[in-house]
Amino acid sequence: MNLFEIFLKGGFIMWLILATSIVGLAVVIDRFLVLRKARINVPAFMVRIRGFIKKKDISGAISYCMEEKSPVANIVRKGLKKYKYGHDRVKEAIENAGSQEISKLEKGLTILATVAGIAPLLGFLGTVTGMIQAFMTIQDLAGAANPSDLAGGIWEALITTAFGLIVGIPALAFYNYFLSAVKRLVGEMETVANDVVDVIQEGEAEEAEIDDEIEL
């Protein structure tokens, strides 16, 4: 017996499970690509950005952020655009951009979580309906069903559970993996953002000191 024939024996619930599987895998690939691009070498990036800001080369820093093409660089760029309005505005802009970026990174993870939950449940539904059918046939046969009739109905019913779990288990694993990856990225974003704000603040303070000295 062909595995695909076994698949067909599961009935129409199998197609629903296949659909959840397609959506789930699509989300997994999507998140994988997005998160791989989002990953950057944070210390190196920080060193470069600090250099630019200390030299007051804001346009240089912005263009460097454009090159980096990662969410971290993106929020730093958005913050640096408000450089001339002071560090409070920079912080505000970074926070705004940060929440935007996080929502972009987390997009689809709820779908993945739903797939992880729904696929096994669909499988159970298929099994229960299959069992109902099997027992109905036994009733139709007026109890004269031989064990093979019963077993046939039952194994066909159990296929949906098996496939539901096959889809659900990796989906759950990937969901947790991506969740932790996003958490790590958010942490990196926070450290970078704080660092940038700190550096700008330091710069402002130095300027103020110089101004004070001149005034004195």
């Binding site: 017996m1 062909n2 699509a26 690939i29 999507d30 994988f32 690509l33 454009m66 093409k69 093979s148």
Partner: protein, 234 residues
Amino acid sequence: MNFSYKKIKQISYSASFLAHLIIILLLWIINLSFDYSPKEYVEVSFGISGQTGSAGAIGDQLNKTEENAKPEEKTTTKEKSQEVKEVELPKSKTTDDNNVINPADKQKEVQKETKKENTKKETSNVSNQGQGNLAQGEGSFGFDIEWGGSGTRRIYYYTLPEYPEGVQKEIDIRIRFTIKPDGTVGSVTLLTKADTRLEQAAINSLWQWRFEPLPPNAKQTNQTAVIVFPYRLR
């Protein structure tokens, strides 16, 4: 930011679709079979007489073939030589109780059968000595089947060899034969050397035997059994 989320989304959805197509193709290719390999040596048992035995998965088919097989059996065992030579019928070694009906029941059945035949005999003038074989074996048939290991193959149809004319010999002819998956007899090997006419008679009748085919989910292999045709003068 240069890379667009939309593009990635499109790419990933198409990739997912493709991957599932590939998975389905793989499912198509992979042949998951719950095959079990049958024993190489088999015990041969008589499914044809058993209403009491467990019919197994293909019990219904069995009963049908039984009905078909029985009349044939009668015709083929007729036409015995008129001499008092014949194949004696020792007890079959079939010990599997599940597949063989109780000897008492069987004897009754056989007796009934022979009674019927006796009435027939009177009307038709065919010498029907061979038919007596069935009654003689005390509920079993005229051959010994040896086997190694367990596993059973029911017999759907069988014929007994006639004692060829012009031979005066008492000998047990042992034949090793294979049963093909479809229940027909495959290769036949003589284990005892005897008169060629006896050998031929034994082999010719063995060729006509039909066994229960292997169930479709079993591995389709030949099974080996050894049968003994004891030729006895009377």
